[in-house]
């Protein structure tokens, strides 16, 4: 091939990989074939750097119906129903073009859900931006939020929760992770495994254009100063088209017309056709002349690699062609039979009567390279740990002022300015809205509800990836429990820098180990996930950012718990213990200005007991409210309960450490509950039997938050500080 060096560089393939391709297929690939290899062997599609480690996370359990490897995972929640969910990143496109990057991120994850036959019922996000003090960053924030809103709102699927952090580690590489959750009949879940030689292959949905060509390979490379030139590779979303596609697919899935289905996401037609056929051990023949196209003169490689949105590839049963065509035509969508399954496990692509691609599927899928990359603990981590942050912080002269400063900081304050742009009430199932510990969605026709939360504090993972990643699992479980639900399963979205950098690889492996260990100890399986590498610009990596999306189940939604203080005179109880630690805390960040120290200590076994204790108390109806202590510690958690209930509290604590450390430490495994006096003995006894520290710290009382003689702030003032936005 002429100019092989240049071509390989453009396709992001190494010379070693090229040699391997030639060896595998016994010939020099033509250019179209090489494009197909570059897509299938990209990090994004092949998981070549992460594969050796992903298996460490437990993925089985009594409720698991579908584990990792499909479009999304599924768990049983009884009553013949399954919850189907997954989280995915759309980081690179969102940095280049925030609105469409974020919008198509939502579109993609929703397709993963309804591809399985599930109707999506909720969207959540997890966002990371630089500090919101530059116009560039405000543009990115506004664009991303509007993009998520624009897509989800139009689809009529509520965006019910999420999280956002601001730190200059993301200044040149923001993170946009979206999670979608759907409900399906447990016995009618559709998979991407082809079967039945001779069955027809249908292309449905939008027409194919040149947008997004090379998206999978773009997502597998780092940013440079020429990033703006990548704009044409960002896809444009059309949520209206996706709404029609979703309704059409779900209508078709009511009957037995389909044997397999997969959305055309990253690497478009290439990955969907290759993966479906390979999973079924069959081959596939495709005629590109039959692919609906919106531009003229597209080359075969462009059609194969296009990432135009709102498209699906499905394998129908022979003889059911008319039914497929009828449903998609009813919804005004393109539907075209573009090929068939064949016995011999090859992919053959024709256009203009000529064969352009003829490759063994095994070479594309099973023989994709897997790298065990060199990993080494970053020197920066040891340095950060050596800086003992506590000594750097002077005790506040005015606790009230510091308290309000913390409460109004972008990392802690109310995110209403974001979630009020999301339609979170469509669907009439959102029982607990955004702004609480977890969202709670009812399942119509049952008494059940599902709780959902996304969590991941990357300051902790930066300072200690193992501990931080385990903390993310613990916090998600605690959030789920705080609304009264039991954690069932989780999905993860692992956002990291360049895996060819040993520091990053070490952070990645440690994070996986942290998640795996927490999941094993808490008996929570990982049923789907996504890895996003190469989040770096000009050689500078983001913080290692594993994000956990967890789903829990509440059997009786009338037993849900909310954080708001309910009645005057109720006792306020702290379950769990506060340690003298403030590494990686929000308090440290706003006072000393650095991200240093050790992350809070984590014990998943303690978390499991805390979750069990809270749920056991809730079953006895002896607690009135619950919320977890997270960013901003105990102090901020108390403020949130007061604001939510519009009730004051009088706190009297005996300090073991300096008060600011006790108030703002982000020690894990702590929950604040409120309860009537008559139940205190019972709560105390139960806490003892679960081996969880118990302490009455105050009463619900008055119209302000008073903490010892340190501060006294009217709830109204707390609310103003909390809700003023950024």
């Amino acid at each position: 091939m002429e100019n092989l060096d240049g071509i390989l560089k453009e396709l992001n393939l190494t010379h070693d990989e090229y040699r391997k391709i030639v060896e595998l297929i016994g010939k020099e690939p033509n250019l179209t074939e090489l494009w197909v290899f570059s897509a299938m062997w990209s990090e994004h599609c092949s998981y070549k750097s992460s594969k050796p480690y992903l298996g460490r996370m437990p993925s089985s359990g009594d409720r698991v119906i579908i584990g990792p490897g499909e479009n999304a995972g599924a768990v049983s929640i009884g009553d013949g129903l399954a919850v189907v969910f997954k989280m995915e990143s759309h980081n690179h496109p969102s940095f280049i073009e925030p609105y469409n990057g974020a919008a198509t991120g939502v579109g993609g994850i929703l397709r993963d859900i309804f591809t399985m036959g599930a109707r999506p019922v909720a969207i959540l996000d997890s966002l990371r931006f630089g500090e919101p003090d530059s116009s560039k960053m405000r543009y990115l924030i506004d664009g991303v939020v509007a993009g998520i809103a624009g897509y989800g709102n139009c689809m009529g699927i509520p965006t019910v929760g999420g999280e956002v952090y601001f730190d200059d580690a993301y200044k040149d590489n923001i993170l946009v992770n979206a999670m979608a959750v759907g409900i399906a009949p447990a016995d009618r879940i559709f998979l991407a495994k082809a079967s039945g030689e001779g069955n027809p292959v249908f292309y449905v949905g939008s027409k194919t254009g040149r947008d997004g060509i090379h998206g999978a390979t773009m997502a597998s490379a780092s940013f440079t100063d020429q990033t703006a030139e990548l704009k044409p590779t960002v896809q444009v979303g059309d949520p209206f088209m996706e709404k029609l596609l979703m309704e059409a697919c779900l209508e078709l899935m009511k009957d037995d017309h389909i044997v397999a289905i997969q959305d055309m996401g990253a690497a478009g037609l290439t990955s969907s056709s290759v993966e479906m056929a390979a999973k079924g051990g069959l081959g596939i023949e495709i005629d590109l002349d039959r692919v609906p196209q919106r531009e003229e003169g597209m080359q075969p490689y462009e059609i194969m690699l296009s990432e135009s949105q709102e498209r699906m590839l499905l394998i129908a049963r022979k003889g059911h062609e008319k039914a497929v065509e009828r449903v998609f035509k009813k919804w005004g969508l393109d539907v075209s039979m573009i090929g068939r399954l064949v016995k011999s496990p090859w992919i053959t692509v024709r256009a203009g009567g000529q064969i352009h691609v003829q490759l063994p599927l095994e070479a594309l899928v099973d023989h994709a390279p897997v790298y065990t990359r060199y990993a080494r603990m970053p020197a920066s981590m040891a340095e950060a740990a050596e800086e003992q942050p506590v000594e750097k912080i002077l005790e506040p002269a005015d606790y009230g002022k510091t308290f309000l400063q913390l409460l109004s900081s972008p990392g802690i304050n109310s995110k209403a300015w974001i979630y009020e742009q999301y339609d979170h009430s469509v669907g009439t199932d959102t029982v607990i809205k955004p702004g609480s510990d977890a969202a709670l969605i009812r399942i119509k026709g049952t008494r059940k509800g599902i709780a959902i939360s996304t969590d991941g504090n990357a300051r902790y993972t930066y300072l200690g990836p193992y501990t931080g990643a385990a903390a993310a699992v613990c916090e998600a479980a605690r959030n789920i429990a705080c609304v009264g639900a039991r954690p069932v399963a989780l999905t993860d979205c692992l956002n990291f820098g360049n895996p060819e950098n040993p520091d990053v690889m070490w952070q990645f492996i440690e994070s996986i180990n942290g998640i795996a260990s927490a999941c094993l100890k808490m008996n929570i399986p990982v049923i789907s996930g996504n890895v996003s590498f190469y989040n770096e610009t000009e050689g500078k990596s983001i913080y290692p950012t594993p994000v956990i999306g967890m789903v829990g189940l509440i059997e009786n939604i009338h037993e849900r718990i909310t954080p708001d203080f309910k009645d005057k005179g109720d006792a306020i109880i702290l379950l769990g213990s506060t340690l003298d630690e403030c590494g990686g805390s929000e308090y440290l960040k706003i006072t000393a200005g650095g991200i240093t120290g050790n992350p809070p200590a984590v014990s998943p076994r303690t978390e499991a007991r805390l979750v069990d204790l809270l749920l056991a108390m809730n079953r006895l109806h002896i607690i009135k409210s619950a919320t977890d202590c997270s960013e901003g510690g105990l102090g901020i958690a108390l403020a949130r309960c007061a604001i939510a209930g519009n009730r004051g509290a009088v706190i009297n604590m005996k300090w073991k450490y300096r008060p600011d450390r006790e108030l703002f430490s982000e020690s894990q495994h702590r929950i604040i509950v409120s309860a009537a006096d008559k139940h205190i003995d019972k709560i105390k006894k139960m806490a003892e039997s679960y081996d969880i520290p118990f302490k009455i710290i105050g009463r619900v009382e008055g119209s302000g938050l008073r903490i010892n003689n340190l501060l006294s702030i009217p709830v109204k003032e707390l609310k103003n500080a909390y809700t003023k936005g950024i």
């Binding site: 009529g156 005004g332 009430s425 009439t428």
Partner: protein
């Protein structure tokens, strides 16, 4: 004799159809059909709801394309025959675009989509949609829209107010009109509007999302119960 029957119109892109269907079933306990946008007659129904959503993606302008659907001629004929029509959110926008009510919708004053609970005051209860409310009742109901900033020329507004056609107005929780209580910039704080005959009601807030205690507010229930009573 069979009881009254309601229809919920479904355009491509409608997304509150099932919410509305569910609320009618649960609260009113009457039969409901989904009505595909190509349907040409609505004679068999006693209530037609034009629900919320993004009909035709709200491309061009919210509601601008839906008004050309075949079902709209049927809807006009049905309403001229005194049939009850309830337009919610996108339904309001469509009824305006179809000139079944006067005025138009602009983008919210914040230029952003807004989803939150708002308070509206019942300005009129001598009509089928609100007869179980008291005049002056303050209801807490969610809004969820990007284009709910109602506008009409001064002369039209005078006529609307003079004819008692403003049915719901944005207020604060104590029932007072103020700029802060008006989420989208709607002129005169108009949140809901009826035609001169009182058989077409259009509103931006979503009563179907405030009809179940589990969801935080039941203030929309009486709207459906009023209609039920009117149909007896």
């Amino acid at each position: 004799m069979p009881g009254p029957k309601a229809g919920v119109i479904v355009f491509p892109g409608t997304n509150c159809d099932s919410d509305t269907y569910h609320a009618i079933k649960q609260v009113m306990g009457i039969d409901v059909d989904y009505i595909w946008y190509e349907k040409k007659t609505l004679k068999q129904y006693q209530l037609i709801v034009v629900p919320g959503g993004f009909s035709y993606g709200d491309y061009l302008r919210a509601g601008a394309l839906a008004r050309f659907s075949p079902v709209m001629d049927a809807l006009r004929a049905y309403s001229e025959n005194n049939g009850l029509v309830l337009g919610i959110c996108n339904g309001f926008q469509i009824l305006l675009e179809a000139s079944m009510l006067p005025g138009s919708m602009q983008k919210n004053k914040t230029l952003k989509f807004i989803c939150r609970d708002v308070h509206v005051r019942v300005e009129r209860n001598n009509m089928p949609f609100t007869m179980l409310y008291k005049k002056g009742d303050v209801l807490r109901i969610p809004i969820a829209h990007a284009e709910g900033n109602y506008y009409a020329p001064e002369q039209t507004l005078k006529t609307l107010e003079g004819n008692d056609q403003v049915v719901f107005r944005y207020v604060d929780e104590k029932g007072r009109v103020s700029e802060d209580a008006n989420p989208n910039g709607s002129v005169y704080g108009i949140a809901g509007l009826c035609n001169a005959g009182g058989n077409i009601l259009a509103m931006m807030p979503h009563p179907e999302r405030a009809s179940d205690k589990l969801l935080g507010s039941e203030d929309g229930r009486k709207l459906f119960l009023s209609i039920k009573k009117a149909l007896k």
